[in-house]
C-alpha cells in the first residue's frame, strides 16, 4: 500500500464492560467515554478533523440507531463525519484512510454496542444468507461450534487447548479493570463443565456485554504534540472470505493471513497481540494464521472471552494494543478484529512505539 503518512493512536477510552446496563441508553454510555477521551488528548470536538463510528442498528432494534449517538459528540458546528455498519475497527480503518488525504491531522473514532436489549444470538443469525440459512435459525454459537469441531477433528488441537485459552483469558482479565469475566480458573475444572453447544462449553463462548469505546488518531507531528509516545499504526489491512461455511476450510483463516501479510505482521518481533476471538478455538486459528509464536503475549486484556461488546470488541483490541504501547509496556503489537460467522471477515493492524 502506498499510503505514507504516519498515523498513530494518541488517546483511547472505554466504558467498563457490563452484562446489562439497565439504566443508561447508548448516548449515556458513550458520552462519558468520549469526554474522557478528548480530555486525555487535550482536544475539543472543534480540534477534531474527522469523526467516524461503527455500530449496528439491529442491536438497538431501531433503524438509524447510530443517528442519536451523534448527540454524545456534540456535532456543532457541523462536522466531517461518517458511519460504518461494521465493528469500530473498520471505522478506525476509514479514519486512518481519511487522515491520509493530508488536509486534516486528527480523527475521532467511536463505537458502541448494547448486546443486552435483544437476543444477540438471534439477531446475529440475520447476518446469514437470507434464503438458505435464516429459515433454519442457526445462531452464532452453532456456527462457531461447527468450526470448533472441524478444528478439533483436524489435527493436534484438543479440548484442553481450548480450556487453556479460556483460563489464560480469565487470568489476564484480572489486570483489566474494565473486563467482565475474570479470575483464576483451573483447566481441569473447565474441562469438567458440561458441554453447552458441543463441542463448545459455555466458557468457550463470549459473555453478553454492553459497552462503548473510542480512540483519537493523529498524524505525524500532531501525534507527538498530543502524547509523548504515540502508538503508530505501521500497517492495517482487512479481507473477507466467502459467506458459506460449507465452501471454506474452517480450520484456517486465509483472510487473516492475507491481511497480516499486507499489514506487515512478520516484519519484526511481536510483543503482544490482541485477537478478536469471541470463541476460544478461534484464538488458536488466528494465532496460526497470523504466524504468532508462543513467545507472543496473546490477549493480555483477556480479549473477547472476557468482555464482548459487539461492534466495539474489534476496536477494543486496537485500543488494548495502543494502551500498552503508549504506556511503554510493549513496543510492537498486533491487533485483530473479526466480523461475520466463523471468522468470515478479518482486520489486522500492526502498532509500534518509537524505539
Amino acid at each position: 500500500m502506498s499510503a505514507t503518512r504516519d498515523i498513530a493512536v494518541v488517546a483511547t477510552a472505554q466504558s467498563p464492560a457490563i452484562r446489562k446496563d439497565e439504566r443508561r441508553n447508548e448516548v449515556e454510555i458513550l458520552m462519558p467515554v468520549v469526554h474522557d477521551l478528548r480530555e486525555k488528548a487535550g482536544l475539543t470536538q472543534e480540534d477534531i478533523g474527522f469523526t467516524v463510528s461503527g455500530s449496528c442498528d439491529y442491536l438497538q432494534g431501531q433503524a438509524f440507531a447510530f443517528v442519536t449517538a451523534l448527540d454524545a459528540i456534540g456535532p456543532w458546528p457541523p462536522i466531517d463525519e461518517s458511519h460504518v455498519e461494521m465493528d469500530g475497527a473498520w471505522a478506525l480503518y476509514e479514519a486512518w484512510t481519511r487522515l491520509q488525504y493530508g488536509d486534516i491531522d486528527t480523527a475521532l473514532v467511536y463505537s458502541f454496542g448494547k448486546s443486552s436489549p435483544g437476543d444477540i444470538r438471534r439477531i446475529l443469525t440475520l447476518q446469514l444468507d437470507p434464503y438458505y440459512l435464516v429459515p433454519l435459525w442457526p445462531d452464532t454459537i452453532a456456527m462457531a461450534a461447527l468450526q470448533a469441531r472441524a478444528l478439533l477433528d483436524s489435527d493436534g488441537v484438543t479440548e484442553r487447548d481450548l480450556a487453556e485459552v479460556v483460563a489464560r483469558s480469565r487470568k489476564n482479565a484480572k489486570d483489566n479493570p474494565n473486563a467482565q469475566l475474570k479470575g483464576d480458573v483451573d483447566v481441569e475444572a473447565l474441562l469438567k463443565e458440561p458441554e453447552y453447544l458441543s463441542p463448545l462449553r459455555k466458557h468457550d463462548c463470549p459473555p453478553i456485554t454492553d459497552g462503548a469505546a473510542a480512540v483519537i488518531l493523529a498524524a505525524g507531528d500532531r501525534a507527538r504534540e498530543v502524547t509523548d509516545r504515540p502508538a503508530w499504526i505501521r500497517g492495517i489491512d482487512h479481507r473477507i472470505e466467502p459467506h458459506s461455511l460449507g465452501v471454506r476450510d474452517l480450520t484456517d483463516s486465509p483472510s487473516t493471513r492475507k491481511a497480516a501479510e499486507e499489514a506487515g505482521v512478520g516484519n519484526g518481533k511481536v510483543d503482544i497481540a490482541e485477537l478478536h476471538a469471541p470463541f476460544s478455538h478461534q484464538e488458536i486459528i488466528l494465532k496460526r494464521a497470523l504466524g504468532l509464536g508462543d513467545d507472543v503475549n496473546v490477549n493480555p486484556s483477556g480479549g473477547a472471552l472476557a468482555s464482548n461488546a459487539v461492534m466495539a470488541a474489534g476496536l477494543l483490541r486496537i485500543i488494548e494494543c495502543a494502551d500498552r504501547i503508549m504506556s511503554g509496556q510493549a513496543n510492537r503489537a498486533v491487533a485483530h478484529a473479526t466480523s461475520g460467522p466463523a471468522l468470515q471477515q478479518n482486520l489486522v493492524a500492526v502498532l509500534e512505539g518509537d524505539n
Binding site: Y132, A142, R149, P199, S244, L245, G246
Partner: protein, 136 residues
C-alpha cells in the same frame, strides 16, 4: 419487533427450491468445476455467474457437527439435534442443516446421513425436514 419479509429469490435459488419440492437435490458447478450445494448464484471465489446445475444425492457425509441440547425458536427440530455440514454424494461442499440423531453419542464426523423429506411442496427450504442417520 415482528415482520414477515417477502423475498424474491432469483433464478438459481428458485430452481433449487423447485427441485426440493420434487425431493430432488441439486448443486451448481463452480468456476473450478467443483459442485456447490446448495447452488449459489455466483462463484464464491471468482465471482463468476454460475449456471450449470448438477443433480446430487440426497444422502452424504457429515464433515463437522455441533450438538444442540436446547433448540431455539424457529430451528428445524424442537428436541435435541445436531447442526451439521453435510457433503452430499456428488457435491464438493458442505450444506448446513440439522441432523435428527436422537442422541449426541450417535453423531460422528464422517457419518452418513440422508435427507428426511416433508410433503410440503411450497418452493422453499421447508421440503427438507432435516437429515437423519442413514443406517438408523
Amino acid at each position: 419487533m415482528e415482520y414477515t419479509y417477502t423475498r424474491s429469490v432469483g433464478p438459481v435459488i428458485e430452481r433449487f427450491f423447485a427441485g426440493l419440492g420434487e425431493h430432488r437435490m441439486q448443486g451448481i458447478k463452480g468456476s473450478d468445476g467443483k459442485v456447490i450445494v446448495p447452488p449459489v448464484e455466483y462463484d464464491p471465489f471468482t465471482g463468476e455467474t454460475l449456471t450449470e446445475f448438477v443433480d446430487v444425492g440426497d444422502a452424504g457425509t457429515v464433515t463437522t457437527w455441533a450438538w444442540v441440547t436446547d433448540p431455539r425458536p424457529g430451528q428445524p427440530l424442537d428436541k435435541p439435534f445436531a447442526w451439521a455440514l453435510v457433503k452430499l454424494d456428488g457435491a464438493d461442499t458442505g450444506m448446513l442443516h440439522a441432523v435428527d440423531a436422537g442422541d449426541q453419542s450417535k453423531m460422528s464426523t464422517g457419518m452418513r446421513v440422508r435427507v428426511r423429506w416433508t410433503d410440503d411442496n411450497v418452493p422453499d427450504m421447508g421440503s427438507i425436514a432435516c437429515f437423519e442417520p442413514e443406517a438408523g
